[in-house]
Symmetry: C2
Subunit: 532 residues, 2 copies
Amino acid sequence: MAPKTKFELKTPKGTKDWFGNDMLIRERIFTQLRTVFQKHGALELDTPTFELTDILGGKYGEDSKLIYELKDQGGELSSLRYDLTVPFARFCAMNALQNCKRYHIAKVFRRDQPAMSKGRMREFYQCDIDIAGVYDPMIPDAEILYILTEVFEGLGWKGNYTIKLNHRKILDGLFQSCGVPEDKIRPISSAVDKLDKLPWADVKKEMTEEKGLAEDVADRIGEWVVLKGKHDLLEKLRADPTISQNKLIQEGLADLQLLFEYLEAFGAFERISFDLSLARGLDYYTGVIYEVVTEGSAPSTTPGSKDSKPKKSKGGKDDDDRSNDPSVGVGSVAAGGRYDGLVGMFSGKAQVPCVGVSFGVERIFSITKARMAAENETAPSTVDVYIMALGSKAGLIKERLAIAAKLWEAGIKTEFLYKTKPKLPQQFKAADATQTPFAVIVGDEEVEKGVVKIKELGLPDGHPQKDGELVQLTALVPEVQKRLARKRELDDIARGAEGLKVVGGLRGEDVKPEETSAPAAPAEEPKPTESS
Amino acid sequence: MAPKTKFELKTPKGTKDWFGNDMLIRERIFTQLRTVFQKHGALELDTPTFELTDILGGKYGEDSKLIYELKDQGGELSSLRYDLTVPFARFCAMNALQNCKRYHIAKVFRRDQPAMSKGRMREFYQCDIDIAGVYDPMIPDAEILYILTEVFEGLGWKGNYTIKLNHRKILDGLFQSCGVPEDKIRPISSAVDKLDKLPWADVKKEMTEEKGLAEDVADRIGEWVVLKGKHDLLEKLRADPTISQNKLIQEGLADLQLLFEYLEAFGAFERISFDLSLARGLDYYTGVIYEVVTEGSAPSTTPGSKDSKPKKSKGGKDDDDRSNDPSVGVGSVAAGGRYDGLVGMFSGKAQVPCVGVSFGVERIFSITKARMAAENETAPSTVDVYIMALGSKAGLIKERLAIAAKLWEAGIKTEFLYKTKPKLPQQFKAADATQTPFAVIVGDEEVEKGVVKIKELGLPDGHPQKDGELVQLTALVPEVQKRLARKRELDDIARGAEGLKVVGGLRGEDVKPEETSAPAAPAEEPKPTESS
């Protein structure tokens, strides 16, 4: 064994460990996403953490400087993946797939300036679903947008989000017919993309002063890109004699007309906002583009609030005065679009058109965690039963081991203190640390009679069940299962009533007092599983 | 968009994409491991993919040359993690945890010469569970060994594996009392570790000729390290007048005596083989060490086979003549032990003793996949319902979208062809590609009457249900759910009977012919989800 050495004990810049409650919340979000993706018949793909450096080259424009490269230790040059989209396109091209519906949940890496408080990390998860293949227009696009509503409704955001939608062809056609020179279309597009953070005056200034656009051209753009709507905005574009002559716009309008009809058939049109200011940064989009924005941290709405300045929501602290307009706030929580040219960049021959979306789990996590804290909601206990020795000088370690094996075999989450002669307070403290709902208690007398005591933990003094119940050792498993099922049922009722209360101020009479009294807020720190 | 470029379309050496059936099998193994770990109250930890290079230094001996380093792009020097144990120790030390029970399922990276056919990759998954903390001797060690039996029994290996167990102190004490000089103890230990691959004569040669050990010392070692047993071997060591005087051996024997008693209390002693030839490579082990070996790919046993040469099992092809001795074959599928000094290397002060095990998912995957192929078992279909348009010139796309939304909302896995006017054979082909069990069919007449047809796919001609059944559109969801539940029940019976048949040649009368007729073997290639 090497001698003890002094290390700087930290994780690399922009990275962190995930443990305890945070990990449980994040896993719940992954499960939610995975369940939705699988409902659509998508298969999971897992690609290597690093790709050949050549594969990533020329895909990310200026952001290529953020790619982590592996050291040249002899052999191929490789880099950590920057996103999941390019590896997906590489996979499709490499296997000459004509169609593929896949999801991918994995870490990506960007050597950016980290801003941990804003959730900008150098290592973070992306959750993507994409549909590749030559199909009739807008059908897969509609399904991806349906998935967006499904995920956020499933997360309990109940309409408290907006899907901003635009079409690259409409945007480019708009710039053309307003008189933007071809070589200025992308820079002007990226100026427009800032309209969610800056007022029009500032954006116009960037266009004219920084990017040299003629003032009258900027003014014509300005009339359009501030517009939002649904069918009405399609109509307005169609009705304009100049605009409606543009071929790109005509194509884009036909797409959106069809898309809106399909979304109506899906019953997923409500949260859509056709928003001419949405431009999206990445070059590879070729059709419909979208991003999902939400106001922040809590699901309850506070009608009547007049404050509509964009601001960051911090852990539900500003719930009372936050905006009623869900389209301002913490930035996008999901984004995507159609990219018909990327696979062709690899295959060199067959184009395989693709459409997809990427969910930003870190941001969804922050919002979910803040909401749980605001609602005093905790993650469920990770342990069902704590086995304790009580009233025995011997400590009964082998008896406790045998009981543990019985419970594990039945799928019951069980712990006990790793001491031959444990002290009673230590055992209760350990059970308390994980909010374990039940104790199974053995003493010399119980062993002799072939019984054990089951005791629900955390009951108030005077509760009829406070002292627990003796059951036959042979009946332990079904007796524990019965109590766990009942406990879960009551917890569900409590949670349901809590949910109703938050949304509509409704009643929660079905719930016993001890079920609604909220446990402590989720711990920030990694939580040791047991005190020794 | 950049012009099309020619790339070498491959993943980096020693890495691969996971998709389709392989991914489903691997996910099933992860779920199995996760479920067991969670039953023991372990919390999941996620550490960064790379650590500061200094953290990894001096931990892996000669293998340090296999560490992947990130390129120096300014800032800290980092390296991809080599295993999950060192990051866990770093995490415990950094957070000054006195105790922690965690599991971790993640990729590790080794710049080794890859041997894909043997499952040796440069990027591969490890699944670890470890218990850190100062506890009474052998209680956590016994729980980790219990987890080993739980995982392999849960995977259906039914006793077809052996847990080889030894103790570093017994091994070192043995070398001392046989007369091995202190500086030769580790090299001699590593020679002993080869006894599972080489006969004693070759190992002795390495000790004497290569490593300069006296012949009589080697002979004394040779009398001991070939021995295996349980309590009998403990007894034999205790009975030897020289050996039993050694202090290390006395400590090791006391540990194992206690461990055996605990394992008996757990009911998990059966698969244990106390094996004095087990040495384990890594330097950091300080107490009990173990590894799990299995003969190969299939769960059925073939008593009477005399062939006991170690060999690789290849997809169940050599089931008939493979060895009856489960301790030879594909190498270890899990390994671990006690390491009491590693956290102290980081913290510089407090020692936090640890014990744990790492499961080799890639090897477990190969064995599971080969077994499934041998048993003609396929992963369950990833889609429940395929919606088809039939007998309508219009194609009924909006009707299909509305039905899809209904089914998705009810949690039913649903697909349909992304065509406005799909051809019938295309739709059947697409449903067939994912072995979708049910079709929901709409035509003009059905739409008019407010009904749909549910049809079970793959029924033989003449089957009474072959033509499907008309149901009210309003009753579609419960009707589909009813059929899916019945189908799953029948599949379970079929699988159960299949399992019985393999193990004991028992009957399978409960099963309808169409349930047992095995579908095609799992595909090797990534499977497109749909043909267009």
